[in-house]
C-alpha cells in the first residue's frame, strides 16, 4: 500500500504476504467505510482488510497496519476479480471465479467488517475474469453488474454479460449479453453516469471497445421484468495491436485509459462531436532514472513562429 505524504511524495507504507497464490486484483472501498481494501487470489479466496491506526511510532516510521477482517472461502476455483458495489448500496462486494460463479456479499453492519453474508450466487456458465458494477445511483436504474469472461475454448458465446437486480424476485438475472464480443475479455468497466439516460461500458479484449447501453422502456404488462437494452458500439481501437488487459475510466467518465501487451497505456477521449480518439500514449523506455524532473510546460508548437511578438515587449511597439 502506498501513501502520499505531505510533500507530495509516495511512500510504500505497508507490504505483506498473505494469500497462498497470486493476488489478481485489489480494490478500495469508499472512504465512507473507512480505509478498507479487498483482495482476490488464485488461492480461491477473497479477503477484506482494514487499516488499523497503530502506535504513533509507526506513523513516524511511515508504516501502517492492515488487519484481515474476513476471508471469503466460498469459491472452489481461482477468484479472478473483486469489486465493491457503489456506496449507495451499502457495504457490498462482488467476486467472480474461474468456474463462472459471481458471488455478492454484504456486510449488514458497516461498523463490523468481520461479518459478511453471501447474498447472491450467479452462475454465468463461462469462466469469469472481471466484473464491473454500474456506478449510477439514479433511482431510474436497478443495480447492475457486468461480467466478462476469458473463456478460451473455440466458441462464439458472448463473453460479456449484464446482470440486473430484479426488485420483484429479489434476485439478479441476466439482462443482456454482448453477442459481438466473442474473444476472451480481460477487463470491463462501466463509466460514471453523468445523469445520462444510457450507460457506457468499456471492454478490454483483443482490442479496446466502448459500448453504449440504452434502456428500452419496460412493457407495462411485464411483471416488473428485466430491462431490455439497445446496444451500440461507439468505438473500437486496435492500436495496442495486442491483447488489452486493463480499461479504466477517469472521474467524470470522459477519458478511458487502457493498457496492453504492447507495454503502453493509451488514453481515449470523445470530442464534442462524440468521436472517440486517442489523446495520449504512455510508454516505458527502459532508460535509468536520474531523479525526477518535470518538463514540458506549454506546448511549444505556437512559440516557434513569432520572434517579432517577443520584440513587442521590448518597448518598441509602434502605436497609433
Amino acid at each position: 500500500v502506498w501513501d502520499k505524504s505531505e510533500n507530495g511524495e509516495w511512500h510504500c507504507t505497508a507490504s505483506w504476504k498473505t494469500h497462498s497464490g497470486s493476488v489478481w486484483r485489489v480494490t478500495w472501498a469508499h472512504p465512507e467505510f473507512g480505509q478498507v481494501l479487498a483482495s482476490c487470489s488464485f488461492d480461491r479466496t477473497a479477503a477484506v482488510w482494514e487499516e488499523i491506526v497503530g502506535e504513533s511510532n509507526d506513523k513516524l516510521r511511515g508504516q501502517s497496519h492492515w488487519v484481515k477482517r474476513t476471508t471469503l472461502v466460498d469459491s472452489r476455483t481461482s477468484v479472478t476479480d473483486v469489486k465493491f458495489a457503489p456506496k449507495h448500496m451499502g457495504l457490498m462486494l462482488a467476486t467472480c471465479s474461474a468456474d463462472g460463479v459471481v458471488r455478492i456479499y454484504e456486510a449488514p453492519d458497516v461498523m463490523n467488517l468481520s461479518q459478511w453474508s453471501l447474498q447472491h450466487e450467479i452462475s454465468c456458465k463461462l469462466s469469469c475474469s472481471c466484473i464491473s458494477w454500474n456506478p449510477s445511483s439514479s433511482r431510474a436504474h436497478s443495480p447492475m453488474i457486468a461480467v466478462g469472461s476469458d473463456d478460451n475454448s473455440p466458441n462464439i458465446l458472448a463473453k460479456v454479460q449484464i446482470y440486473e437486480y430484479n426488485e420483484n424476485t429479489r434476485k439478479y438475472a441476466k439482462a443482456e449479453a454482448l453477442m459481438t464480443v466473442t474473444d476472451p475479455v480481460h477487463d470491463i468497466a462501466f463509466a460514471p453516469n453523468l445523469g445520462r439516460s444510457f450507460h457506457i461500458l468499456a471492454v478490454a479484449t483483443k482490442d479496446v471497445r466502448i459500448f453504449t447501453l440504452k434502456p428500452l422502456r419496460k412493457e407495462l404488462s411485464s411483471s416488473g421484468g428485466l430491462t431490455k437494452f439497445e446496444i451500440h458500439i461507439v468505438a473500437q481501437f486496435d492500436n495496442h495491436n495486442s491483447q488489452v488487459w486493463r480499461v479504466s475510466w477517469n472521474i467524470t467518465g470522459t477519458v478511458l485509459a487502457s493498457s496492453g501487451d504492447d507495454g503502453c497505456v493509451r488514453l481515449w477521449k470523445a470530442n464534442y462531436m462524440d468521436n472517440w480518439k486517442c489523446t495520449g500514449i504512455l510508454k516505458g523506455n527502459g532508460s535509468p532514472v536520474n531523479g525526477s524532473s518535470q518538463q514540458g510546460i506549454f506546448n511549444a508548437s505556437l512559440g516557434s513562429a513569432n520572434t517579432s511578438l517577443q520584440n513587442s515587449l521590448n518597448g518598441s511597439s509602434a502605436s497609433r
Binding site: G263, G296, S308, Q310
Partner: protein, 665 residues
C-alpha cells in the same frame, strides 16, 4: 494531428506491462505483468528507446518500494501542468473574475451598448494576457538558470501569440465593425503586432540626418504599407528639403497621400460616397503614374504603385512586412475601401517554400470567418483549455455559435468550460475557481461538480469545511453527507471522538452519532471522566439527532449540575433520564450508582415520590435479569444492589420524617 506521447522514464518495456490507476489529479503508472497462466506475455512492438517529443503529459518517478532489487516503482503522469506554473496564476485568477462578471452582466442591454460591453470584456481578457506576459518576461530576465530562461521565453511567445489571436478575434467577431472602421482596427492590429521593423524605424528617426540614412526609404515604405500617411509624409518632407531637385515630385506624392480617402471613425459618409471619392483618387494616382511623373525616382514610383494597390509592388516589400497577414491587411487598405472578403493568397507571400505553422492556420481561419475552425485549431495547438474556453464563452455571449447537441455538454462552450474547470480541480487551491465555472454550465456543470468535489483530498479540517460550505450553498446534500461521513470515520479511527461526533452531527447521521455516543459513554465508564466536554456541553438542539446522543448530553448535564452543587436539579434530571427512558437500560446501573452520593448527602434531596421511583427502577432492573444472569453476577454487583437498597431505604425513612414534620415539603 500527432498524438502526444510521453515516455515514462525507467519503465522497462521489454519485460513488463504498464498498469495504471486514475487519481484525482494524475494517473499513477507502475510496472506489472498481466497474464494469468504464468510465462511471459506475447511479444510487444519494438520500442527501441525512440524519443518522443514531449507532449502535454509529463511523467516523473513518484516513489520507490522499499527493499529488494525488483522493487516496484510508481510513476505519476500529469496533464495540464500549466496550472502549476506560478506566473500563470494571475491569468487564471483574474480571468476568472472577468468570466464571472460576463456571466452576470446584463443581457437586457441590446445593440450598441451590449456590444460595447462585450468589447470591453474582450479588452480586459487581453490586458490580463499582456500583464502575464510582462511578468513572465521579467521572470525570464531575472533568472540565471538557462533552462528556466528558455522556458519562460517560450511561454512569453505563446502568450503573445494568444494575445495576437484574441485581438484579431475581437476585431473580426466581437466588435465586427463596418467595413471602414474594421480596416482601421486591422491596421492598428498590424502595427501593434508586427514589430520586427520597429528597431529599424527607431534607428532612422533618431539619427542626425534621417534622409541620409541608408534605410531611409525602407522606413518610408513601412509607413506607407501600414497606412501611416502622416508619418510617411513627415519623413518625405525631410528628404524634399535636403534634395531640391525632387521638390516637384515630392509635392505631388505628398498631395496624393494627403488626399487618400481613409475611413475615419466619425465618418458620416455613405458607402457610395466613399466609393466615389476613392475611385476618383485612384484614377488620379493612375494618371500620375502613367505620365511618368515619378519615373526618375524608383522609390517614389514604387510608393505610387503601392498606393494603387499593385500586388507585385507590395510583394516586393515582403521583408518589410514580415508576415502574410500584414500583406493581407495592406492589400485590403489599398485595393478597396470597403473591406470585402478577399483571398488570403498566402501562397503569394510564402512562395510555396514553407507550410503554414499552427499560428498561421488559426489566423487564416479567423480571416475566413470560420469560427469553429479557429476554436478547433486553437484547441489542438495550445496545451491547456484556458484560451479556447474563455474565448468561446465570449463568442457565445456574442451569439455567434450555433449549438450542436451532444452529451458532453449541451454545446461547444459548455464542453470547453467543463474541460477547463476539470483541469483546475487537480490543483490544491485553484479548484475553487473551477467551482464557479461549473456553476455556469447549465447541463452538466452540477454533476461534474458533484463528481470532482468528492475527490478533493481533505487533508485538513479547514479544507473540508471549505468544501462543505460550497456543497451546502448549492444544496448538494448527498455530498455534504458523504464528506462529513468520511471525516467522521477518519476521526473515529484516530480516536478523536469529539471531532467524529461533530462531523456526524453536521452530516445528520443519527446512526453514527449513536455509535460515537456509545463510545463516549464506554470511555466514561472506564475512565470516569468525559473527553471533549466543550463539545458535549454545547450540543444544543443537535442533541436531538439521536436518542443516545440526547442521553449523552443530558448525562453530562447531570454531572455539571452535580459539580455546581445544584443537587435537587441534578436529582430530578437523573430520575428523568430513567423514567423517560432516555437512558439505555444497560446504563441504569451506572445511573443508580451515581444516585448514591445524592442519597448519602446530609440534606435530603430526593423526595418520597422520587425515592419510590428510584426503588421501582432498581427493582425493574433486577427483576429484568434472568436467574442465570443473577447467578453470573459477581459479588460486586450484588453488593452494589444491596447498598442501593439500603441507601434508598434510609433516604425514604428520612424523607418521610422530613415531609411529615414540615408544612408541605
Amino acid at each position: 494531428a500527432a498524438v502526444p506521447s510521453q515516455v515514462v522514464p525507467g519503465a522497462d518495456p521489454s519485460a513488463r506491462h504498464l498498469c495504471f490507476a486514475w487519481g484525482p489529479a494524475e494517473v499513477l503508472v507502475c510496472e506489472t505483468l498481466f497474464g494469468r497462466r504464468g510465462g511471459f506475455p506475447s511479444r510487444r512492438e519494438g520500442g527501441q528507446g525512440r524519443a518522443f517529443p514531449p507532449g502535454t503529459l509529463t511523467a516523473c518517478v513518484a516513489g520507490t518500494g522499499e527493499g529488494g532489487p525488483s522493487s516496484s516503482r510508481l510513476f505519476v503522469v500529469r496533464k495540464d501542468q500549466d496550472i502549476y506554473i506560478q506566473t500563470l496564476r494571475k491569468l487564471f485568477n483574474e480571468s476568472h473574475g472577468i468570466f464571472i462578471g460576463l456571466q452576470r452582466s446584463e443581457e437586457e442591454l441590446a445593440g450598441k451598448s451590449r456590444k460595447a460591453q462585450l468589447v470591453q470584456v474582450s479588452k480586459n481578457y487581453r490586458s490580463v494576457i499582456r500583464a502575464c506576459m510582462e511578468d513572465m518576461h521579467q521572470a525570464a530576465i531575472l533568472t540565471r538558470d538557462p533552462a528556466l530562461h528558455s522556458q519562460y521565453s517560450t511561454q512569453v511567445s505563446i502568450l503573445s501569440a494568444m494575445e495576437l489571436i484574441w485581438n484579431l478575434c475581437e476585431i473580426l467577431f466581437v466588435e465586427a465593425a463596418a467595413a471602414g472602421p474594421l480596416l482601421l482596427r486591422l491596421l492598428d492590429w498590424v502595427r501593434l503586432h508586427v514589430c520586427d521593423v520597429d528597431n529599424m524605424v527607431h534607428e532612422v528617426l533618431s539619427s542626425e540626418n534621417p534622409s541620409k540614412h541608408e534605410l531611409f526609404w525602407n522606413v518610408v515604405d513601412v509607413f506607407v504599407l501600414q497606412g501611416r500617411m502622416d508619418e510617411a509624409r513627415h519623413l518625405l518632407s525631410k528628404e524634399a528639403s535636403a534634395n531640391p531637385t525632387l521638390v516637384n515630385m515630392y509635392k505631388i506624392l505628398d498631395d496624393l497621400m494627403k488626399k487618400m480617402p481613409v475611413p475615419s471613425l466619425g465618418n458620416t459618409q455613405t458607402l457610395t460616397e466613399m466609393e466615389l471619392k476613392w475611385q476618383h483618387w485612384h484614377e488620379e494616382c493612375q494618371q500620375y503614374l502613367q505620365d511618368g511623373t515619378f519615373a526618375s525616382n524608383s522609390h517614389m514610383e514604387s510608393i505610387c504603385k503601392i498606393l494603387l494597390g499593385d500586388e507585385d509592388a507590395i510583394l516586393e516589400k515582403k521583408d518589410l512586412m514580415t508576415t502574410w497577414y500584414h500583406f493581407l491587411v495592406t492589400r485590403l487598405l489599398y485595393s478597396h475601401p470597403t473591406v470585402k472578403p478577399m483571398e488570403l493568397r498566402m501562397d503569394l507571400f510564402l512562395g510555396g517554400e514553407s507550410s503554414p505553422e499552427p499560428l498561421d492556420t488559426i489566423l487564416m481561419a479567423a480571416f475566413e470567418f470560420e469560427l469553429h475552425q479557429v476554436i478547433k485549431e486553437c484547441s489542438i495547438a495550445l496545451s491547456n483549455w484556458w484560451f479556447v474556453a474563455h474565448l468561446t464563452d465570449l463568442l457565445d455571449h456574442c451569439k455567434l455559435l450555433q449549438s450542436h447537441n451532444l452529451y458532453f455538454g449541451s454545446n461547444m462552450r459548455e464542453f470547453l468550460l467543463l474541460e477547463y474547470a476539470s483541469g483546475l480541480f487537480s490543483h490544491h487551491s485553484l479548484w475553487q475557481l473551477g467551482v464557479d465555472y461549473f456553476d455556469h454550465c447549465p447541463e452538466y456543470g452540477r454533476v461534474y461538480l458533484e463528481l470532482h468535489i468528492e475527490r478533493i483530498p481533505l487533508n485538513t479540517e479547514q479544507k473540508a469545511l471549505k468544501v462543505l460550505r460550497i456543497c451546502e450553498q448549492r444544496q448538494m446534500h448527498e455530498q455534504v453527507r458523504s464528506i462529513c461521513k468520511i471525516m467522521a470515520m477518519k476521526a473515529l479511527r484516530n480516536n478523536r471522538l469529539g471531532s467524529a461526533l461533530s462531523w456526524s452531527i453536521r452530516a445528520k447521521d443519527a446512526a453514527f452519532a449513536t455509535l460515537i455516543s456509545d463510545r463516549f459513554l464506554k470511555d466514561y465508564c472506564e475512565s470516569g471522566c468525559f473527553s471533549d466536554l466543550d463539545l458535549i456541553d454545547n450540543l444544543g438542539p443537535s442533541m436531538l439527532l439521536s436518542d443516545r446522543l440526547t442521553f449523552l448530553g443530558k448525562y453530562r448535564e447531570f454531572h455539571r449540575l452535580y459539580g455546581e452543587k445544584r443537587f435537587s436539579e441534578a436529582a430530578k434530571l437523573l430520575l428523568m433520564l430513567m423514567t423517560a427512558h432516555i437512558a439505555p437500560c444497560s446504563f441504569w446501573m451506572t445511573l443508580l450508582t451515581d444516585a448514591l452520593p445524592l442519597l448519602e448527602q446530609k440534606e435530603v434531596i430526593f423526595s418520597a415520590e422520587q425515592t419510590y421511583e428510584l426503588m421501582r427502577c432498581l427493582e425493574d432492573l433486577t427483576a429484568g435479569k434472568s436467574d442465570k444472569q443473577k447467578f453470573q453476577d459477581d459479588d460486586i454487583e450484588t453488593m452494589k444492589v444491596e447498598m442501593l437498597r439500603l441507601a434508598l431505604a434510609r433516604n425514604l425513612a428520612r424523607v418521610i420524617v422530613k415531609e411529615g414534620t414540615l408544612e408541605g415539603s
